[in-house]
Subunit: 274 residues, 2 copies
């Protein structure tokens, strides 16, 4: 099983686009094949999971039951590659820079589009990602250690169980950001307003209380320094549904490649009201 890594926001890009639509056109035309973090930063980006119809109902129920790790932004109609609620003319077969194809939970291929792979029984799921709330935290003047250190955010398996649905079950994966207490309090308030991108933290403080034995050794991403006057603050992470889906070994699952997200027409600033 290989985990898709949601990456972390705020990396600079050397190209800019006027809006999400224009960025998607560049991606569709093959002019942008890299990660999307920092690209059109005003817009909400989403994690992608595409599953066969036979599993779609259970996965939708799994997301509905576990909204913090699996905040659903949109679900496509079976076989329909459009996502009109997320953006103008989105075609999920072409509008993500790179895709990964898993069969029975094993990574089989990486490809620039799904034109040949698309079938009438595929259902698209787009889930909120932490790029959006990291923008909110940075806008509020809360420093993010992994951004300052140029690293990927630290992620951990926990002993927090998700609510199972059909073949989908497993522990929650969390991301951790060390903060001073005053910033942690503000971060709770800021992220609580955006449940579509993981919402409020799931834990603050002692990592062992959620089954993390060694905070210096994340399961995914990079370790970051925690200062003596800081608390580790843990958010539900979009790696959770990816791990859960892979563990269920679906006949076919297609995701975005790490960091290569779907850029939607939703504005981050509108998320508190979404």
């Amino acid at each position: 099983m290989e985990l898709v890594d949601t990456g972390s926001a705020m990396q600079a890009s050397d190209e800019t686009f006027a809006d999400a639509y224009e960025a998607r056109q560049a991606i569709r035309a093959g002019r942008w094949r890299r990660h999307t973090s920092g690209l059109t930063p005003a817009y909400v980006q989403g994690n992608l999971a595409i599953l066969p119809l036979a599993l779609a109902s259970d996965f939708m129920r799994f997301c509905q039951s576990n909204p913090k790790p699996c905040p659903l932004l949109a679900v496509g109609q079976p076989g329909n590659p459009q996502l009109p609620t997320l953006g103008r003319e989105i075609d999920i077969r072409t509008d993500v820079p790179a895709y990964r194809v898993y069969r029975e939970g094993v990574l089989e291929d990486e490809m620039p589009d799904l034109k040949l792979l698309w079938q009438g029984n595929l259902v698209t799921f787009v889930l909120g990602c932490s790029f959006s709330f990291e923008h909110g935290l940075i806008d509020a003047g809360i420093p993010l250690r992994h951004v300052a250190e140029g690293k990927n955010v630290a992620m951990y398996q926990t002993n927090i169980q998700t609510v199972p649905a059909g073949p989908f079950h497993g522990p929650m994966v969390v991301s951790m950001r060390p903060m001073k207490a005053a910033d942690a309090i503000r971060a709770v308030q800021i992220t609580a307003r955006v449940p579509k991108v993981h919402g409020a933290p799931v834990h603050i403080g002692d990592p062992s209380l959620i089954g993390i034995a060694d905070i210096t050794r994340p399961d995914f991403g990079d370790a970051v320094r925690i200062a003596p006057d800081e608390l580790p603050v843990f958010w539900a992470c979009g790696v959770t549904p990816q791990a859960v889906v892979m563990a269920a070994k679906p006949a076919l699952c297609i995701t975005h490649s790490p960091g290569c997200m779907l850029i939607t027409d939703m504005l981050n600033r509108d998320l508190p009201f979404a």
Copy 2:
């Protein structure tokens, strides 16, 4: 200097009233001379401070600059004992069960009303108190240790400095409630919605970071147990303005007696929208 203790909500009373107005009439008539915690629990109760006009402007500015410890619910017109924005026919000279009179910062007297003491140069300040947000926490199913243990909440001097205004300056006093992390996260969200009653916490975790040397020895109130899986959560406390006012040694200052609050016509449930 003697500190008025704001006490803690949720104590049972053996008498009930239909609403705040009726409770105030009983208090005014001398039929209720005790603390008001648990009395007409749907209604917001307020801390009282009455100061001479010469100090009123500085104190109002102090409250405005320090809204977390000093959330102003209302300021009376000089010499006017009514507070029409807080409740029908309130007369601050008679509608609090017991008053304390301080001169030059020293407790001089305790009295059942201010009929003889009232002067044309007195200005009334009513400040929000933690009774209201404790109701909100309990309504949300968050257990409060001091309530369970039948104690007063634990309060501590800190090294957090208030913003000074005229003669008013000094460190913030905080109240502490131990909570599991998940409850602490929810408590931040719940109390952030009610800035008129202290709002979100000012600190979570390591007490030494805000100058508290020994968490087992509160400066006011009672020590409570902190379980190994709990975080201490600290809120700005209404004892702060009381300590600051007493330290300024005003010629005259009148407060409510500990726990004997002004019951307003405001509903706790309306506080998030106030």
